[in-house]
Amino acid sequence: MKALCWNGVRDLRVERVPDPEILNPKDAIIKVTMSSVCGSDLHLINGFVPSMRAGDIIGHEFIGEVVETGAEVKNLKKGDRVVVISVIGCGECQYCKEETWSLCDNSNPNGLLQEKIYQYPTAGIFGYSHLFGGYAGSHAEYIRVPFADHGAFKIPEDISDEKAVFVSDGVPTGYMAAEMAAVKPGDIVAVWGAGGVGQMAMQCAYAMGAERVIAIDRLDYRLANAARYSGADILNYEDTDILEELKEATGGRGPDCCIDAVGMEAHTTGIEHVYDKTKQFLRLESDRASVLRQAIAACRKGGTVSVVGVYAGLVDKIPMGLFMNKGLTIRGGQMHGQKYVPMLFDLIRREIINPEFLLTHPVSLEAGQKAYEMFNDKTNKCMRAVFKPFN
């Protein structure tokens, strides 16, 4: 089959690789009909996540059709149209039983490797480095899905492929971002990053009763989308002082909930007040946790900062004094998609959330390198490029 392989930093190529086979009794093989790029792939492609190996098939946000099931797959059959959650959960460990699927004890074959860095192994993720299991990804014609009964969900007939594909990762990540931010009716929510995940967080924040959502980004076309599709007020941090604007927008209190939907490759204008003061005082270098710092600074006293933008290792100059003295709550995590899917289908069906506008560029696998360049450089008003391996 054809598959989009990572061969080195910013080097993707379509290769002929063997078709996947059932390796364990709870596996299923899925014929991929759509597979989306995700902002977190950029961290792999740009070389910020360790343990990638040349030849790894990337991609983790996908839908498809069941073509083969292992001996112990009970809920799926050949021909089922399914969305597969990007994070793999065994369904039986304490974490899966508590619906914290991305913390699964048993789905990462490289638990030992991950323990060396994170102390405890977390769940495997499709196409997302050997640290997260080394599973072959979905930018391919076929993919092996372990623990398929738990990770693959039949898509209701009245939900289109264009919506369903984002239920694999973007929508549940956005939902969990709003949930971790503890959005309550009447809250004002600030979301850094107006990409796919950020905008799903905005829509979900409204679904939870937010009074107002403020989107922060530097790309005007994404902010325009956030206003149009996700109902957000918008701030371009290259034009304004974000901390002042957020105070202005919240009657001087600050946002109740702050969501970091950017992560470790954040861009910044480098003018945040606290950051500058700290930097000046300690004479430290800049790094790329600027969104997290700004969210901690902006958040109202007693508010919550929710982190779904991906971080891999260490960041420095986190303003702990602000965090501690303002009595903030900070939460983070990879999403527990399996927990949310049925409810998300329902929200999509009722058009309370709608991810369809994210699909701006349907492309072939052969266009992989170019599609990721476009997605990385934010050209052609790209929100998401989505591969259709059989078109």
């Binding site: 089959m1 598959a3 392989c5 061969n7 190529r13 290769e15 690789v17 063997p18 078709d19 996947p20 086979e21 390796l23 364990n24 009794p25 709870k26 190996r53 040349a54 030849g55 790894d56 098939i57 112990e72 793999i88 065994c90 369904g91 039986e92 460990c93 304490q94 039983k97 004890d105 048993n106 789905s107 990462n108 074959p109 638990g111 030992l112 495997g124 299991g133 080394g134 599973y135 072959a136 391919a140 092996r144 372990p146 623990f147």
Partner: protein, 240 residues
């Protein structure tokens, strides 16, 4: 886990006691060789090189007799080795009785212990173990017996005397708090062959051994919880 604590669990730890022979075979051979060379080179001019000649003679005596007066003075015996202990702890999300039952059926162990080929339980106490030697150069066989058993709490075993693999160990089973299943403590104690030299080599490999044991117990957790061991062996990639 110290040897004394293992003793409390119901084992005797084999110790090779011999007060006169306190030099092991490898050291004796080295002593003979070094002493012989010193003597051969310097005995003709013994008066100008008394220290070298005396050293040579001392080494030859040590090699021939297996007794080292210096070791006696230091209360050292290179024939005695310290056990290499490895300890692994895991929580398994299944009831204690079920985890215990699975483990007590020793024939199950090769399902998750990657280097074990087969375990045959001959009776309630005795069993025969066959392991693959890493590198695929064959198998090694030994007999073990269960020396202590408290149903649903503890299994302790030990290889029978003169086994090719001199080992002992125990598994303890505790309830995890908040209904989170069973805490499994595995302690494996191994007497390296070939005295102090073997001990040094075994210590070098101990981190590797601990990793192997840990991965085996992790596989046990996966088998008993999820019903299979997560793997990517045999999956597709663009690697040639």
């Amino acid at each position: 886990m110290k040897t004394e604590q293992l003793l409390h669990a119901g084992y005797h730890q084999p110790k090779r006691k011999n007060n006169f022979n306190n030099v092991n075979t490898a050291e004796r051979l080295l002593s003979l060789a070094a002493g012989g060379i010193l003597l051969a080179k310097h005995y003709k001019r013994a008066l100008s090189n008394p220290i070298k000649v005396l050293t040579g003679a001392y080494l030859v005596y040590r090699g021939l007799s297996g007794n080292c007066p210096l070791y006696t003075g230091l209360n050292k015996n290179s024939n005695e080795t310290n056990a290499i202990n490895t300890r692994v702890i895991f929580t398994v999300n299944k009831p204690r009785e079920e985890v215990y039952r699975y483990w007590r059926q020793l024939e199950n162990l090769p399902f998750f212990m990657s280097h074990l080929q087969r375990v045959d339980q001959k009776n309630d106490v005795q069993s025969e173990w066959i392991a693959k030697i890493p590198g695929g150069v064959g198998t090694i066989k030994w007999n073990a017996e269960i020396v202590k058993e408290i149903p649903n709490e503890l299994i302790g075993w030990q290889s029978v005397e003169n086994s090719s693999i001199d080992n002992a160990g125990k598994v303890e089973f505790y309830d995890a708090p908040r209904g989170q299943g069973t805490v499994l403590k595995v302690i494996f104690s191994y007497h390296p062959p070939a005295g102090a030299l073997g001990e040094g080599v075994a210590k070098l490999f101990n981190p590797l051994f601990k990793t192997l044991l840990k991965e085996d117990i992790r596989a046990f957790k996966q088998v008993i919880e999820a019903g299979e061991v997560a793997t990517i062996k045999g999956q597709s990639s663009g690697r040639k």
